[in-house]
Amino acid sequence: MQTPRIDVRELWVRFGSVDAVRGIDLQAQAGRATALLGRNGAGKSTTMRVLAGVIPPTSGKVLVDGIDVRRDPLAVKRTIGYCPDVGGLVPRATPWEHLQLAARLRRLDDWEERAQDLLERFDLGAAAHRVTAGFSHGMGRRMSVILACFHRPSVLLLDEPFDGVDPVGVEATLDVVADARARGACVLVSTHLRDLAMQACETALVLRGGSTVASLTAAELVGEEGAVVYRALLD
């Protein structure tokens, strides 16, 4: 069997007296997209932050592309592309300056053509040199997806990428997920929007209260029947 690109065993994350994540297990393969579904406070974003190397796990084993997040978060950050759930943009920098900073720190050559292409695909070409503080919520989300994917990471972490995004942005994001899968990247999408998650992913993990309650295929979660199944898992 193929080694999972993301391998999480018994992940616990504690903030003070609150357990945000309570023993999640998660395996995600290369070339596949997995959805993290669940209500607010289910632990989706915290799990994504741990995988991005932004939050250290309290306990458990977290391997991203074979690298232990706790031991070498910097190496993990070189591997992943991360779209955070909130904001994700430095308010007074332009999209181009974000891309320039990321390109510099990720040692990218010949990145400008791809960056320009992504900005056009996400309908942000005209705003490339405006500060992001003036962006709408949807524009900010689209830009965050660009920043996550433009260096072609082997692990793509998209946290609420569809939130408040218009149909053009949704389509472009679905294309990004499809492209990443096609080149063998592992994609993890955290969202509240079941229908869109099922368009983007083949499998889904449903979280509740910081724990995993089900692991399902997309086929089990689509349509009316899928909605009933999903609703039942939330309570």
Binding site: R49, G53, V54, K77, R78, P84, H98, H129, L147
Partner: protein, 511 residues
């Protein structure tokens, strides 16, 4: 637009202000409340010290100085008004009691906002230092006789000047937010400074200041010291009534201003910033984003310009000696840190999570922030020194060394304190509005008091060392203090590199 201001609205606004204050107070934990009480006690204690000590030490020192200070006191009272107007104008009318993004869900009226801005006005290091200075000098000049009575006119003046400054601040903000407002506001400011420079150049500034109506404050203080109660009571009654009128009237331009669009903020947010060449190193790339966060933020641009020029112009107008100039960098760098440095990670705002997910050493982000903070503080202090030096005559070697050492040491102290507080107590703040502050008001009071104390003491130590013939002792002390600041800064950097500490900071500022 209706500008009617009814008693009902005023009454309601006062009620709303109480509710907003309770809302802010509810967010404080027991430790913060204790700190608040301690901070308030320290401010009160320092105020008493500023009054009592000069009044009673004057007999022990050279009485000649009383005669030196007496004629300049009315000008200093006027200077307080001028500087308070400048502060109110630079902060877009006045600071916010509740950040705009939090207040948007509540029906907070512009009058409540005005009252809140008035309450916030004294909560900064510049206001407090000037107030203590005026109280102390008046006490020194008039002596301990009926000290409480001689202080009353000065205290009332501090309140009246703050209320008048608020009115002027709102009016300028109203102009600034109007058509071509930014250029008109710049024109008004330039015209004022040109007129001031012309007065100085033509040696007529003293004549103009001698006719200042603030002479009455000194007279009233003297009436208090001399026991002329009726004259004092009449002055106080007039001043209190004028204060009440200014407080109420300020609500009108506040409404005018706050009902207009924030043009300067929108201009910065919608303007284009052409791409620059690819950065040559990781640090340059980091610095570029950090500098953009400062110079594209309205409150930081305005605040830094005011800080760079205001103390320098005062020193220029007041013909300060080199020994006094040594104290100025401390004031400037403290003010600069209070603009953003005390919560420096907030510059990343909601981009903090993304930025921390980039493959760069945490030390690099820390160094970049330290460098940016240093350069902003040193450039501001440098401009102040240049302006002050224009009329200060030729300094001795000891004075030059003391000034250079004081500037570098206070900058190091303030950077160290700022980075420590930024790591220890981060806040989610959007420094978009000219009225925003990097931390809640009560926290800012504590920060300003502590910075004022440490930088003033340091400035005074180096001011004293400027008298020594041997400047090497000054350099030795500066090196020792720099080493201590560097050691503590390194400890803060170590804390920042810990993943659990950094994740708390990043999650807080991005929330």
């Amino acid at each position: 637009m209706s500008t009617a201001l009814s008693w009902t609205e005023l009454d309601r606004s006062v009620d709303d202000l109480r509710a907003v204050l309770r809302f802010r107070g509810a967010s404080l934990d027991a430790r913060s409340r204790r700190r608040l009480r301690t901070g308030g006690g320290v401010v009160l204690l320092l105020t008493l010290v500023a009054i009592v000590v000069p009044a009673y030490v004057r007999d022990a020192v050279d009485q000649q100085r009383v005669g030196d200070f007496l004629p300049i006191l009315p000008s200093l009272y006027l200077g307080f008004l001028f500087l308070t107007i400048l502060t109110a104008s630079a902060s877009g009318g006045g600071r916010e009691l509740v950040p705009r993004e939090q207040a948007v869900a509540f029906p907070v009226s512009t009058t409540t906002d005005h009252f809140g801005a008035l309450l916030m006005a004294p909560l900064n290091v510049a206001w407090l230092m000037q107030a203590w200075g005026l109280l102390g000098l008046t006490a020194y000049v008039l002596g301990p006789s009926n000290l409480w009575a001689s202080m009353l006119p000065v205290l009332v003046w501090l309140v009246l000047a703050t209320a008048l400054a608020q009115v002027a601040g709102w009016l300028l903000e109203w102009v600034r937010r109007g058509p071509h407002g930014i250029w008109i506001a710049r024109g008004i400011t330039t015209a004022f400074f040109v007129a001031l420079a012309a007065l100085i150049a033509s040696h007529r500034l003293t004549d103009v200041l001698d006719r200042s109506p603030t002479v009455r404050i000194l007279l009233a203080a003297a009436w208090g010291a001399g026991g002329e109660w009726w004259a004092l009571a009449r002055f106080l009654l007039e001043a209190v009534m004028a204060t009440a009128v200014a407080v109420v009237l300020g609500a009108i331009p506040a409404r005018w201003a706050l009902h207009r669009t924030q043009r300067e903020e929108l201009r910065l947010e919608s303007g284009l910033h052409p791409a620059r060449p690819f950065p040559g190193s990781d640090l340059v790339a980091m610095l570029r984003v950090d500098r953009a966060a400062i110079w594209r933020s309205v409150p930081l641009r305005r605040g830094l310009l005011v800080l760079a020029f205001m103390p320098g112009l005062v020193a220029f107008s007041g013909h300060l000696e080199w020994r006094m100039i040594v104290i100025l960098p401390g004031l400037v760098v403290s003010g600069g840190a209070l603009l953003f440095g005390v919560n420096t990670w907030c510059l990343d705002g909601r981009g903090a999570l993304w930025r921390d997910s980039l493959p760069a050493s945490p030390n690099l982000a820390f160094v970049s922030r330290v460098v940016v903070l240093y350069e902003v503080l040193l450039v501001s202090a440098g401009l102040t020194i240049v302006l002050a030096a224009l009329r200060a005559g030729t300094p001795t070697v000891s004075e030059v060394v003391a000034l250079a050492c004081a500037t570098i040491v206070v900058a190091a102290q303030v950077v160290r304190a700022s980075m420590t507080w930024s790591v220890r107590r981060p806040f989610a703040v959007d420094l978009r509005s000219a009225r925003a502050t990097p931390a809640p008001p009560v926290v800012m009071v504590g920060y300003s008091a502590r910075l004022a104390l440490s930088t003033t003491v340091t400035g005074m130590v180096f001011s004293g060392l400027a008298l020594l013939d041997d400047w090497r002792f000054t350099v030795l002390l500066a090196l020792t203090m720099l080493l201590w600041s560097s050691y503590r800064l390194a400890r803060t950097a170590t804390a920042w590199t810990k993943p659990d500490v950094r994740s708390r900071i990043v999650a807080t500022v991005a929330s």
